[in-house]
Assembly symmetry: C2
Homo-oligomer: 341 residues x 2
């Protein structure tokens, strides 16, 4: 868009009034959450500069509903049982609530739910959406592609090849590296992994971090790994299979804490002491879970609240009409040492 | 509805303009996400065909969003940790999804969240709302009073004196009676209770059922009861207090299963065998909880899925313009016998 330099812009009005761009925007559009004093300054500046908001831009702005969708594209059982999602819902609710915005949680359990979700998001009912769609075959990101709604994705690389998305992810590969290096520093030699479901980018990346740090061939990696489903039961079963195939395993990196709790059970039921016989490192550092196992879990800490905060910051830029370049932002993780390794 | 064949329909306009029905609808209703070009084509076609949307039909088209709000007016920690709410969310999602409707879960954590919630519900974004607001001091039901939105409440008697609400509740008093009669049939003589928080109607009703069945005076009831908060920790603490005061207790009715799990821990830590020394009956029959304790819980079974189903049935009548008389519907409960009593 070529800007007509002769006409004052919203930025000019904001600068003249000495307020932020978003405050100026809210004041001009008669929204709440602007003090009477700021509103007056902005209106005076607009008059003085001869500012007349472009009609199209204005109609976009005035359609604000003050609601933001939190879209979780996962089986509902998963959402309601995995503590990671509870943290996401809690974080999104608190952040939005503090801003006076309404959180609308929407579940996409299967592809049958996609059309309704897209229709609602396209209906002008929300100002934007935070979207968690981690499965690589998920058709939701592609279906959302044509919407003009501000959207930020949490984790994954939705749709694989879809470009131009705003994305906030954790350093999954780096986290796996921290876990494996810690196990190596303890002198462990046969370090296996229970991976997450390999249709999810985070699970793939954690497995890659494990494999690369150990410098394993594909063949050896396949022998030393089992795929779980990110649930305690799945972790227990995968650990049992792995232990049967590699009975002299002396360490295991388990790709999330719920599975690590299950793997711990499998190891102890098989008569292995943790950490003496088999050292174990998880991933997530779920409050209430990582410390509740016996022994407590050494694990890779990630912060879902920080993920939400970063997603919200980008979303608000998009809602305010700024257009930051789409990018994948990667949040750091760190190792938390407890008794399991 | 009898269609007047002579008059052009929305479909006719869409076909004439060469756009989809939904694009035509959006263009005629001045919604966004329609290109200027499409809008112009649709408006021209409408003029040319003499299309004039019937006012009532028009308001239906513009007002139906195919979305239903699930409003949970509880501290968010409670919603994300109590398995009853997981069941409610799951049930509402499945029922709505089966009908092709979109569930929007909204949390009301404190009274600061009320104005935004009311504003959104009043904004024409949803066709109706299922509302869980069980605390007697909750100001949400009163704040929703003036909305014309179809609403059905789940449990409680919101606002105490508010009339004209549609409400689906469980037979809490009757459930407590079943629990106490079962304990009496086992020959138990000193039957205490750990009640829920007494600012909630369900907790009050369960305590009344216990007191009435035993025919206790207020004074004796006060001595034989402790108030918990519906969490495992709260149940454990309340049980400990009750046991200290009434060491020769031989049975206890605990007003929900999470508290019953905590109470069981308190009893066992105090050296009481369950059920031999103290028999215990819970309330809820949470899948995955009531069977997981050692011993498994004898408990009062309620069915949150059935509650949601009944609420949806009423809500759909209201959305369709039928006006069933407001009433409080009470769902039956039943005793499930396991090893704890």
């Amino acid at each position: 868009m070529i800007r007509d330099e002769a006409r004052p812009t919203l930025e000019d009005v904001a600068a003249h009034a000495g307020v932020s761009r978003s405050t100026a925007s809210r004041a001009l559009n008669e929204e709440s959450y602007v003090s009477a004093r700021s509103r007056e300054k902005v209106l005076n500046s607009a008059r003085e500069l001869g500012y007349s908001p472009n009609q199209a831009a204005r109609s976009l702005v005035t359609r604000r509903t003050n609601a933001v969708a939190l879209v979780l594209s996962e089986p509902e059982t998963k959402v309601l049982e995995d503590p990671y999602f509870a943290e996401i819902v809690r974080g999104a609710f608190r952040e939005l609530s503090a801003l006076g915005s309404q959180m609308l949680m929407m579940l996409v359990d299967s592809k049958e739910d996609i059309p309704g979700t897209v229709r609602f998001l396209d209906g002008g009912h929300v100002d934007g959406a935070l979207i968690f769609a981690s499965h690589q075959a998920d058709q939701l990101p592609a279906a959302l592609r044509s919407l003009r709604l501000p959207m930020v994705f949490g984790g994954g690389r939705p749709g694989g090849t879809i470009r131009g998305l705003h994305l906030v992810d954790f350093d999954n590969t780096g986290g796996a590296k921290l876990a494996v290096e810690h196990l190596q520093s303890l002198g462990r030699k046969r370090i296996g992994t229970v991976s997450g479901p390999l249709d999810q980018r985070s699970a793939v990346d954690r497995r890659i971090g494990w494999q690369q740090t150990l410098g394993l061939s594909e063949r050896t990696a396949a022998r030393l790994s089992e795929e779980g489903d990110f649930t305690p039961e799945g972790g227990e079963q995968a650990m049992r299979r792995l232990l049967t195939r590699v009975p002299n395993l002396d360490a295991v990196f388990v790709a999330n804490d719920p599975m690590a709790a299950g793997a711990l059970r499998a190891l102890q039921n098989a008569g292995r002491r943790v950490p003496e016989d088999v050292a174990l490192v998880g991933f997530d550092d779920h409050p209430g879970l990582a410390e509740a196992t016996n022994p407590p879990l050494t694990t890779v800490h990630q912060d879902p609240r920080e993920q939400i905060r970063q997603m919200m910051a980008t979303l608000h830029q998009l809602i305010d009409g700024d257009a930051p370049a789409p990018r994948r932002r990667v949040l750091p993780v760190r190792l938390v040492r407890r008794a399991s390794a």
